[in-house]
Structure formats: structure tokens, C-alpha cells
């Protein structure tokens, strides 16, 4: 079933490494995702120091009680799955895959914390629900584990830092059509439900929305 061990692994009966290794390459293991969505209480995670103590056959049973997830870690994963399941978010598959990848990258580095700040993830999900046809952004994590998204097209930039308290901080770079030697640079703070109203006057909507 498994060809090799990975630093962080989801222990489910139909799992192969495709969820962790196939992004951004081949397709994810749909069976693994579907199993996890129905059996989240039974899923356990292994860290890299424990993984090598188990042989292949140990992963056949889904009920190995080792390194049970913290509640907030499960909340993060559940929220990522919620994004994936929200049918009206147009790019939900790729966005949720990016988030899951970021979550596991942080866990792989062995840092304390939950991978992604849950408040930031809620804030980002709220934004996606409001602006469901948004184009796929670049997504990264700040050192405080908040989600940072960027849309770039030619010499236009729109970036948002989704803070855990419901606020967002944003940056806009765009050409100055009146004075082409100069650029327009804006930054500020708002909330997810007001940010687009603020920037709609900046002519960004054409290239941010799909």
C-alpha cells in the first residue's frame, strides 16, 4: 500500500502518499479524502520520529491510537475540507489543496502550533464565501501562521494578509496611467466583507475575478 514513509502521514486504510506528494502534480487520492471526511474521529497522525517504528502492515488498520490530533488541528483540517466541499467556491479544489499542502509543510518543519492559524483560516473562508468566483491566488503563510494571498497580473498586485481577529491588511500596486513613470501603491486594513468594496474603485476587479 505504501511505497515509502513520509514525515507526516494520515493513517487511513486507503491512503497512499498522493495527498502529500502529488501537489501540485498529479491528482489527489479522492478515496483518501472521502474516507477522512466520514471518519475524522478515527484518523491519527504520525510525526517523523514515530513513522519509522512501524512496518507497512501496521497501516492497514485505521484505529492505531498514536499521536492523536489536537482539537484545534482538527478544526483547521475540517475547515479546509469545508472549503473543498463548498460547491459555489469556483476554485475550491485547488485552493483547499494549497492550504492542505501549507498545513503539512508547517507540520513537517516540526514547529509548535497548528500549521495554520484557525482564526486566519476562518477569515479566509469567509472571504471565499463572499467572493466565490475569485481567481486562484498565490497562497503562503506568514511567520505568525496567518494566510497571505497574492494576485499578480503584469504590473498589478493585490495582496491580503488574513489576520486571526477578522481584520485583513492589504496591499495594492498598480500603474499610474496619468504619470507612467510612477506607480500607485496603496495599503491599509479592512475586513473581509468590505475589502472588495474598497478596492473596486481601483479597477482591480477585472483581473481578480474569474
Amino acid at each position: 500500500m505504501f511505497d515509502h514513509y513520509v514525515p507526516v502521514k494520515l493513517n487511513i486504510p486507503y491512503f497512499d502518499q498522493s495527498i502529500l506528494f502529488d501537489y501540485p502534480g498529479e491528482s489527489q487520492n479522492i478515496g483518501a479524502w472521502n474516507w477522512y471526511e466520514k471518519n475524522q474521529d478515527q484518523a491519527t497522525f504520525f510525526n517523523s520520529s514515530q513513522i519509522n517504528n512501524y512496518s507497512k502492515d501496521d497501516f492497514v488498520t485505521p484505529f492505531v491510537q498514536e499521536n492523536i490530533l489536537e482539537v484545534e488541528e482538527k478544526q483547521v483540517l475540517n475547515l479546509i475540507f469545508d472549503i473543498k466541499r463548498t460547491s459555489y467556491i469556483s476554485n475550491r479544489e485547488i485552493i483547499s489543496r494549497k492550504l492542505l499542502n501549507l498545513y503539512f509543510l508547517e507540520k513537517e518543519e516540526g514547529l509548535d502550533g497548528f500549521g495554520i492559524a484557525i482564526g486566519s483560516l476562518r477569515n479566509f473562508y469567509h472571504f471565499l464565501q463572499l467572493y466565490s468566483n475569485i481567481k486562484i491566488p498565490m497562497i503562503s503563510l506568514t511567520p505568525d501562521a496567518t494566510i497571505y494571498t497574492s494576485w499578480k497580473e503584469h504590473d498589478h498586485l493585490f495582496s491580503i494578509n488574513f489576520l486571526s481577529d477578522g481584520e485583513v491588511r492589504f496591499v495594492v500596486f498598480k500603474p499610474n496611467d496619468t504619470n507612467p513613470k510612477h506607480k500607485i501603491r496603496l495599503s491599509g486594513s479592512a475586513t473581509a466583507d468590505t475589502i472588495m468594496e474598497l478596492i473596486s474603485t481601483q479597477g482591480l476587479c477585472d483581473w481578480i475575478f474569474g
Partner: protein, 143 residues
């Protein structure tokens, strides 16, 4: 900490390197989040490349990889961003709202003599980080 109590200020003609974690990279491209401070930080950690006294950039990158691997676990897809101090400071000064003056100060540690820090990234870290991002000269895999 008062930066006047730290080491020498690194001048404009020097180069620095920033370790960018895998979670600060998307689709192979370094994101501005690589230049954000943690909530409890005042200075952004970088390495003073010229201090390494190597013959060329490849040697500098090798030296950095060794430093990183001795200090922490290097992510498989982590990158090193190379920046010239003067280009970074000039761009931020000219294009930030408040004509921000960044300071790059040598701050050696027991396990990293080339360690340095960039100060004055706050407030408006997001805007400053995006400006710094535009000054990256080149990037290399960190391992």
C-alpha cells in the same frame, strides 16, 4: 533593543541572503510573507553574504547551506533569496508611504557569524515586504 547597541551597519554595496521557508513559496515563487516579522520580533534575520568572504556566489550559497543545516531543519523546497542592501533600501525609501529607512545591522550569533538583521519593517510590514520582494536579485534552493 536599541540597534545602536548591536553590530555594524551593513553598507549599501553589500549583499544579504534571506532563508525563505517552503510555506512562504508558492509554485516555486517566493512570496512577500518571507519578509514578514513575527509578532515578537523587531529585526528580520538575514545573512551578510560578503562577510562569508567567498570567491563567488556559488561558494556563498554553499556556505549558507552549511550554516542553515547546522542551525535548523531546512525544508526540501526552501529557497535562499539574494538582495543587494542598497537596492533594497533605496526602493523602500523611494516607494513607501513614509520614506522608510531600513537598517541592516550585523548581529552575529554563536552559531552564525554572518547573521544580520533588517530593522524598521514596521508598521505596514505588508507593503514593505512587497517592495523588498521586488528587489530579489536571484534565488537558490536552500538544500
Amino acid at each position: 533593543m536599541d540597534i545602536r547597541l548591536k553590530g555594524d551597519r551593513i553598507t549599501d554595496n553589500n549583499h544579504i541572503a534571506r532563508y525563505c521557508r517552503p510555506s512562504q513559496i508558492d509554485n516555486g515563487k517566493i512570496q512577500a510573507s518571507a519578509f514578514f516579522l513575527r509578532e515578537d520580533e523587531d529585526g528580520l534575520s538575514v545573512n551578510w553574504l560578503d562577510f562569508l568572504n567567498c570567491t563567488d556566489r556559488d561558494s556563498e550559497v554553499c556556505a549558507l547551506k552549511l550554516i542553515y543545516s547546522n542551525k535548523f531543519s531546512v525544508g526540501k523546497t526552501a529557497k535562499i533569496a539574494i538582495i543587494q542592501v542598497g537596492q533594497m533600501c533605496n526602493k523602500v525609501r523611494m516607494e513607501s508611504h513614509d520614506r522608510r529607512n531600513l537598517s541592516v545591522v550585523h548581529a552575529p550569533s554563536f552559531d552564525d557569524e554572518s547573521h544580520s538583521e533588517i530593522y524598521n519593517l514596521r508598521p505596514d510590514n505588508e507593503l514593505i515586504a512587497e517592495l523588498i520582494l521586488e528587489t530579489i536579485l536571484e534565488s537558490y534552493p536552500a538544500r
